[in-house]
């Protein structure tokens, strides 16, 4: 067949097909339903996500490269697909109450969330530069629009414009790096690139270094690592809260998947170079993110800086670049997704009346009014800070352990020190919730939001107490990435 697909290969793409058709269905439903049927549209989107999940379970991880080497259907990709699917589902679940509070229509919103998820799917399984890039673009464009969807709010407009301009700029840098890679190796396929790069005589080393730096810089924008993080606080603050949550977890997870694929799979023989780059990025992100978070009074901005710091922690795994390091990254990403979404769920709860509810003082006395929510928030914050028995602790423990094992003791020390610093600003929120007098309107817990919080809470606690299954999954996934980097393991 001329298009390069055989019918049996099409079956592996079932989840993507379901998601695409479902997203189009949501768009059509929005065009024909009345504007006030938010619940129906969001419900339909959740059904689409559930169907996609079922299709994912049916396809599983056949460990096949399909579509003439464009997509790799392996456990690594599956791990990330499930992760972003869960993130998208929790995001949509908490979106219902938020959209109602903001009087926003749900149609375009749900469609764009699904479109972003579709883009992430291709970022997770793409093993060819252009496929990965198109996935990234699909996701990014959806997020640019989503960030500005609070149309009457100037902050939201600002967020969209900033995100769009810096995003386009970073994509340009990334694309330039990719085109250099293509020019040097004559292929956009990561496997072929790895083989070509492995032969240093054939490829111009200085130019290759430029390509690696450009690619890493472009990707660092997407994961909001210092010094490419400038967009994050403003975008996080301005975007609708559930979207902020989705950007901070989904976009980050998918970008890390892409990052791992490109550098670990495509550039194993440049490992020394990118290790150094990520080492620097990691230390800068952790330190700058945590220090900047200390002074924030706005909870959304604080979580933005905290997510920059988390990008720093996550980069430790890639510096180690051992199977254990990568699997620790996957574990931490899964844990981070749950706790971050939970924390943003509390922010959605605080959106009441005319108050945006994103200042720390808006949480004053939450324990008196909504004790369950306050306890949940406490768990999320402790987990973000890395206190046992939460999942955050297990994730950090495994991640820093991997760094020590790979011989990066100092990196682990910096990371632990940073975690201690971060506790200060997480606990400030706890202090506000417990010791201050409540003010403003009573926050109203809605069933959908309660369900979101309960799921995130359960995940954070269960993964903290019984992490074995997740660890096994992450290890299988990391191994399926199949790289030449860890052949000469230390």
């Amino acid at each position: 067949m001329p298009a390069g697909f055989s019918p049996s290969e099409l079956a592996y793409l079932l989840p993507e097909f379901v998601l695409t058709l479902g997203a189009l269905l949501v768009l059509l439903a929005d065009a024909f339903l009345s504007r006030d049927r938010r619940g129906a549209v969001i419900g339909l989107s959740l059904v689409v996500l559930a169907a996609t999940g079922a299709a994912l379970a049916w396809v599983g991880a056949p460990h096949q490269t399909i579509a003439r080497g464009l997509l790799s259907m392996d456990a690594f990709g599956l791990f990330f697909k499930v992760l972003v699917l869960v993130a998208a589902a929790l995001t949509l679940l908490m979106s219902g109450p938020y959209l109602a509070a903001e009087a926003m229509p749900a149609g375009a919103y749900s469609f764009l969330v699904l479109a972003a998820t579709l883009g992430m799917f291709f970022m997770a399984s793409g093993v060819e530069l252009i496929t990965i890039f198109i996935g990234l673009e699909t996701m990014a464009v959806a997020f640019y629009i989503l960030a500005g969807l609070l149309k009457p709010n100037p902050r939201s407009n600002e967020a969209a414009v900033k995100y769009f301009l810096l995003g386009a700029f970073s994509l340009g840098i990334l694309l330039y790096g990719m085109s250099l890679l293509y020019g040097l190796t004559g292929s956009t396929n990561l496997g072929t690139i790895a083989a070509a790069v492995a032969n240093p005589a054939a490829v111009g080393r200085p130019l290759l270094l430029v390509a690696v730096i450009l690619v890493v810089a472009g990707l660092a924008f997407k994961i909001a690592a210092v010094p490419f993080h400038m967009w994050a606080p403003d975008v996080y603050e301005g975007a609708p809260t559930p979207i902020t949550a989705f950007i901070s977890v989904g976009s980050k997870a998918a970008s890390f998947a892409m990052l791992l694929r490109i550098v670990v799979l495509g550039l194993p023989s440049m490992a020394e170079e990118w290790r150094t780059l990520f080492y620097v990025l990691s230390v800068l992100s952790m330190t700058a993110g945590n220090i900047a978070a200390l002074t924030q009074t706005n909870l959304k901005r604080m979580l933005a800086y905290s997510s920059i710091a988390h990008a720093g922690y996550l980069l430790i795994g890639i510096v180690a670049a051992t199977p254990r390091g990568i699997s620790a990254m996957l574990i931490y990403l899964a844990v981070y997704t749950l706790m971050q979404l939970g924390a943003f769920g509390i922010l959605v709860l605080m959106r009441r009346g005319d108050s945006a509810g994103d200042e720390i003082q808006d949480l004053n006395g939450l324990f008196q009014r909504q004790p369950a929510a306050a306890v949940a928030m406490l768990v999320f914050l402790l987990s973000l800070g890395g206190i046992p028995p939460t999942a955050g602790f297990m994730g950090k423990f495994w991640l820093f352990g991997a760094a020590v094992e790979a011989g990066y003791v100092w990196l682990a020390v910096v990371a632990v020190l940073n975690s201690v610093v971060s506790l200060y600003y997480y606990l400030r929120v706890v202090v506000a919730m417990w010791t201050r007098e409540p003010e403003g309107l009573e926050p109203r817990m809605r069933p959908a939001l309660a369900l979101t919080l309960a799921l995130a809470l359960a995940g954070t606690l269960v993964l903290g107490l019984y992490p074995r299954p997740l660890f096994d999954l992450a290890e299988t996934s990391a191994k399926s990435l199949g790289s030449a980097v860890w052949a000469p393991s230390r």
């Binding site: 067949m1 001329p2 768009l27 059509l28 929005d30 065009a31 024909f32 504007r35 009457p152």
Partner: protein, 136 residues
């Protein structure tokens, strides 16, 4: 003659236009007055600048055009190669069109194509919501 012919033709067109404009600026009279140099507004003194904000419709139509123009650009190579692609190619382009049609129905329902009064219930609802928001 191939591309060179196109170049010559472009050159001839350019030369003609430039020469004619130069000729008329050489031969024509020149006695400008402030009134002559003001923008023409049917004899009334011009108020304000012309380069103001225009209806958002024009921007919308430009954006929608971009999407559909890419579709048309896609069509040409496909049309030339159709006999080789066979029914597979046909199914592929129909799939492509169906995805595009969903977007088309969406913009139709949302009133992007209405330049006069809104013609769909969704577009009327959107217009009403905007009026209410502006009033508030």
């Amino acid at each position: 003659m191939g591309w060179l012919g196109l170049l010559i033709m472009t050159g001839l067109g350019l030369g003609f236009a430039v020469v004619m404009i130069l000729l008329s600026s050489l031969l024509g009279p020149k006695n400008p007055t402030p009134e002559k140099l003001a923008p023409y507004e049917c004899g009334m003194p011009a108020v304000g600048d012309a380069r103001e904000r225009q209806s958002v419709k024009f921007y919308l139509v430009a954006m929608v055009f971009l999407l559909f123009d890419i579709e048309v650009a896609f069509l040409y190579p496909w049309a030339v190669a159709l006999r080789d692609l066979g029914w597979t190619g046909f199914v592929q382009i129909v799939t492509f069109f169906l995805i595009l049609v969903v977007g088309y129905i969406y913009i139709w329902r949302k009133g992007v194509l209405d330049w006069g009064p809104a013609t769909t219930s969704a577009a009327r609802a959107a217009a009403r919501a905007m009026r209410e928001r502006n009033a508030a």
